[in-house]
């Protein structure tokens, strides 16, 4: 019997109900209206926002239920669930265990959390590939979820424009033909503070000063208890790292740029993706983006774009697709898949 290889079988995603449109944004920040053309470069028109008390795990469960229903998947066949998020139900136990119960997954199923943002999806695929091809797991349910808007300061105009909440469920199964190829991973912990929520974790408790307003060079307001992103540094990091990541992926997978049918980058904002595209000379028609209606959904941004690429016909069975994620950590990862 040939050794089976991992591949992405199905994807589904869930968006919370509440919408924060550009009209809503400009009514809160009316003086930004004079820069409408500049905001257009970001490519976002609306985002979905979690309700109070609606957790990342809640979104993830809904996305998994959608996946099971849409594709008539027997949940008893899932033998590993991975939960990639930055918000977990409890300090302990593992949220994937709680999700396991909510989805009524079988007892002979592994469950694991991992905390990553924008590089989370390729990382998740690598873990799934290892489980399937190295250890004999058959069906991995990879859940990515973000509720980051909860941690964005109400007066942080930059981040309120960018981020949206979502969860995505991917079923990774096994077949004869290789569906997930070689990976590249990278980390620069020196950049940890470039995207950070400083207080409220184990290192720094929430104190009275945690909510003191911090104003950056551009007038964006945050606090130690909220998401703090150095947009300029992250842009420079992305434009430097993503092209190198793509080149390394091509070498590792013995491919040329022309062999790739579609490129899907982490959907940070269209301006960054366009800068990366130009740097590597990828033809426009080979880059697929889906950000206008959902914003930057962190670890769900790549699988949501992949789902929409398939749905729209831009990606089809047999296509070779390069996935590249980069962001908080600072962390980056990528792979090449064959649908």
């Amino acid at each position: 019997m040939p050794l089976l290889k991992a591949y992405i079988k199905h994807i589904s995603y869930h968006l919370p109900d509440k919408i924060f449109s550009n009209d809503d944004f400009f009514s809160i920040f009316p003086d930004s209206k004079k820069n409408l053309d500049t905001f257009k470069k970001i490519g976002i028109k609306k985002r979905h926002i979690v309700a109070d008390g609606e957790l990342a795990s809640d979104l993830a469960v809904k996305s998994a239920q959608k996946l099971f229903n849409k594709y008539s998947i027997d949940s008893n066949l899932i033998d590993f669930v991975l939960f990639c998020a930055q918000e977990f139900d409890y300090y302990t136990p593992t949220t994937a265990c709680v999700i396991h119960e909510r989805l009524k997954l079988p007892k002979n199923c592994g469950a694991l959390d991992f905390n990553l943002g924008c590089s989370g999806y390729p990382y998740g695929l690598s873990i799934a590939k290892g489980l399937i091809e190295g250890v004999g797991v058959k069906n991995v349910l990879l859940l990515t979820a973000s509720t980051l808007t909860r941690k964005v300061h109400p007066k942080d105009r930059s981040l309120r424009f960018l981020f949206g909440d979502a969860a995505c469920a991917t079923l990774i199964s096994s077949r004869e033909n290789d569906g997930i190829h070689n990976f590249v991973f990278g980390t620069d912990g020196a950049g940890a503070e470039k995207i950070i929520i400083k207080d409220g974790g184990a290192r720094n408790n929430i104190e009275s000063s945690s909510h003191d307003e911090i104003i950056d060079d551009f007038g964006n307001i945050t606090s130690r208890a909220h998401m703090d992103m150095n947009g300029v540094s992250v842009f420079s990091f992305s434009v430097k790292t993503a092209p190198a990541l793509v080149n390394e992926l091509l070498v590792k997978n013995d491919k040329q740029l022309e062999d790739i049918d579609l490129f899907i980058f982490h959907q940070a904002n269209l301006f960054i993706i366009e800068a990366i595209r130009k740097k590597i000379n990828i033809p426009e028609h080979k880059v697929f983006n889906y950000i206008e209606l959902v914003g930057n959904t962190v670890s769900s941004s790549i699988p949501i774009a992949l789902y929409e690429a398939i749905k729209s016909g831009r990606a089809k069975k047999g296509d070779t697709i390069l996935l590249a994620g980069f962001g908080v950590g600072l962390s980056w990862s990528g792979t090449i898949i064959t649908l």
């Binding site: 820069n35 053309d37 500049t38």
Partner: protein
Amino acid sequence: MISVNEFTEKLEAEFEDLQKGTLTPDTDYRTINGWSSMHALIVIAFVDSNFDILLTGIDLKSTITINDLYNLIQQKK
């Protein structure tokens, strides 16, 4: 290397909100109306795609005028 006036014109063209002739080499570029982090990204992307130099936040902080930017690029080339 293009002249500082040409550099200024090309940079100005990146900002669709700006009327032609708004920027001069002596303009403190942070006074561009509504200066935001997005504007800073536009400057960095412009320099990167035209001169293959990736400026950092610290590079931008070391400059005030468009002339300063131009001189910095010349130094880095």
